[in-house]
């Protein structure tokens, strides 16, 4: 398997919304190569990836549970606690930088 190139690592880091240090750009390439070469054994097993997406066993016993499509709780019931965790706020608004 071709080694993960620095450019590829930079691309993956950007997709993951993180920045890798110079040291990590070196060591992560090596680490991820060794992990992928271990994980790659699954590709040596015959057959193509099936189209069946559902898992059997316990996963097939799980059922969606629905509730009525209406407000599940009173407006403002949890606002105070939740807003207390917001790092940047203005009054009762979550503050973010301009997007457009």
């Amino acid at each position: 398997m071709a080694e993960i190139k620095k450019e590829e690592l930079l691309k993956l880091a950007s997709l993951s919304r993180i920045k890798l240090s110079e040291e990590e750009l070196g060591s992560f390439g090596k680490d991820i190569d060794s992990i992928l070469s271990f994980v790659k054994q699954i590709q040596d097993v015959g057959g193509n990836a099936g189209t069946e997406k559902r898992l059997p066993g316990i996963f097939s016993m799980i059922q969606n549970r629905f509730r009525e499509d209406e407000a599940a709780h009173k407006p403002g019931e949890f606002s105070k606690e939740i807003l207390a965790e917001v790092p940047q706020r203005e009054g009762d608004y979550v503050k973010v930088k301009k997007i457009l």
């Binding site: 690592l9 919304r17 993180i18 920045k19 990836a49 066993g57 939740i82 790092p87």
Partner: protein, 476 residues
């Protein structure tokens, strides 16, 4: 002084009921152990400052004769399980100051019994690790030998119980994170059926793999906690109903999967101890059969595709906007990048990269698709061995060692992530298949380090795990 190491939930409850000691005495004795041992072991990241309130409530219940088994029992909580109003950091810098805005369902069910939550325990960041060395808040050490790791990722919870800083603890298991630390610390660790205990309020790692479960000194204690925490939860659609009374067979049949045991890396001493455990079960009247799980050896490779894929998706929520750390940049995108770069530790970053890789176009089918296909094959292997034993020659339980080796030295595997990942080689199959498994102490190595025995049963058959575990440990 009360000797916490000698107490189980039931014996402590009886002492409290008979007035041999009060809840206050029990908690004081527990906190004294924490005070003495935590500076060296680092099991707890925080000891809660409001235990007095809990003590009062619990003592009142005893006075009124309304106490339940868990009333007044000191419990440690892993740092990724939400306890309203308390910090839950998942041992990450990105959640350093995050206070839970609600209780995990497992916690609210326990709270109804009025136990005493002592504090929150150290873990590998976001439960990513097998040694509790990946915490942003320092390494946790094994109370049996502080030069060694307690296992992970629930290493703080296991260490808290082992150092008698709690009677029992909650952990979470994604690929072995309850069973492996229980094994390394000579304790009992239950990884329940997927969905048996609600994941609501558990900080997500791999959502198709994550479970909450107890770490205890006895199988009976694990059963008591499981019974309180399990059940359908409207807040977690993946919960399943368990606990239905089923008939226990008079004589249990054990399956021993030689193809799993012949995998590389199992220490001879662990193997020898395992043979002794089989002999013990035979003596107890269990029938032992050789079975085959031909795809189980792929489990760890499958796990290291599916888990990082789920990590890369689950951890996308940490953006510095809604809660947790915020680092300001030039624009919103730079806010995200600066926050996540400052907040996530090395192993978390490594798995984010790995997860993004296996999900990226061009690799999706060959990694993620293939892993899911093989996941179905592993589930199929277990289904087959647990088939009706009368008609189809199935078995009731499967046993293997919990880990390929005993607790390793702090720092021994830190530089080589793949060798660290191999710690989960015997626990990954059950995680992949969503099966319940329990680790019980199997004995000691020549150097006095615990070796765990892992018992696996079919879906929702925790009852078989409890029966076999109690028989094995001679619990009445």
């Amino acid at each position: 002084m009360i000797d916490i190491s000698k107490l189980t939930i039931k014996s402590a409850h009886n002492h409290l009921k008979n007035g041999d000691f009060g809840v206050k005495d029990l908690i004081r004795a527990t906190l004294k152990n924490v005070e003495e041992k935590n500076p060296k072991i680092n099991a707890y990241l925080e000891v809660y400052d409001d235990v007095e309130i809990g003590i009062k409530k619990a003592e009142e219940l005893f006075k009124n004769g309304k106490a339940s088994l868990l009333t007044g029992i000191p419990i440690a909580l892993k740092d990724n399980i939400l306890n309203k109003g308390k910090i839950a950091s998942a041992s990450s810098k990105i959640l350093e100051n995050y206070r839970a805005t609600y209780d995990a369902t497992a916690v609210s069910k326990l709270k109804a019994e009025k136990p005493i939550f002592i504090g929150r325990t150290n873990m590998d960041e976001f439960a990513m690790g097998s040694s509790t060395e990946n915490s942003a808040y320092g390494v946790t050490r094994n109370p049996i030998d502080p030069t060694r790791v307690p296992g992970g990722s629930s290493g703080g919870s296991a260490a808290a119980v082992k150092m008698n800083g709690a009677l029992v603890a909650l952990g979470s298991d994604t690929g072995g994170s309850i069973r492996q630390p229980a094994s390394f610390c000579g304790l009992v660790g239950l990884n329940p059926t997927y969905g048996a205990i609600s994941r609501y309020g558990l900080i997500a790692l791999g959502s198709s793999l994550d479970k909450i479960g107890p770490i205890t000194k006895s199988v009976t204690d694990a059963e008591i906690l499981f019974d309180v925490m399990r059940g359908l939860d409207p807040k977690d659609s993946t919960t399943v109903a368990t606990g239905e009374k089923k008939n226990l067979p008079k004589k249990l049949i054990i399956g021993v999967p030689e193809d799993v045991l012949s995998m590389d890396g199992i220490q001879p001493e662990v193997r020898k101890n395992f043979e002794e455990s089989i002999a013990k079960f035979s003596k107890l009247g269990y029938e032992v059969k050789n079975i085959s799980l031909p795809n189980a050896h792929y489990s760890l490779a499958i796990y290291y595709v599916i888990m990082p894929a789920e990590v890369s998706s689950n951890l996308a929520r940490f953006d510095g906007v809604k809660y947790g750390l915020h680092e300001s940049g030039d624009n919103l995108l730079h806010d995200y990048i600066k926050t996540r770069t400052a907040g996530f530790g090395k192993e978390t970053r490594r798995r984010l990269i790995l997860g993004t890789y296996v999900l990226s176009s061009g690799y999706y089918d060959s990694f993620y698709g293939k892993a899911n296909e093989l996941r179905r094959a592993v589930i199929g292997d277990f289904d087959k061995v647990f088939e009706d034993r009368e008609v189809k020659n199935g078995v009731d339980i499967v046993i293997t060692p919990t880990t390929p080796n005993v607790a390793f030295k702090v720092g021994e595997k830190a530089a080589d992530p793949l060798s660290m990942y191999m710690s989960d080689i015997l626990t990954a199959p059950q995680s992949i298949a969503g099966l319940p498994a329990i680790s019980v102490p199997g004995g000691l190595s020549k150097t006095g380090l615990p070796i765990g025995l892992q018992i696996t049963a079919s879906y929702m058959r925790e009852d078989l795990l409890f029966k076999a575990g109690k028989d094995f440990l001679c619990e009445i």
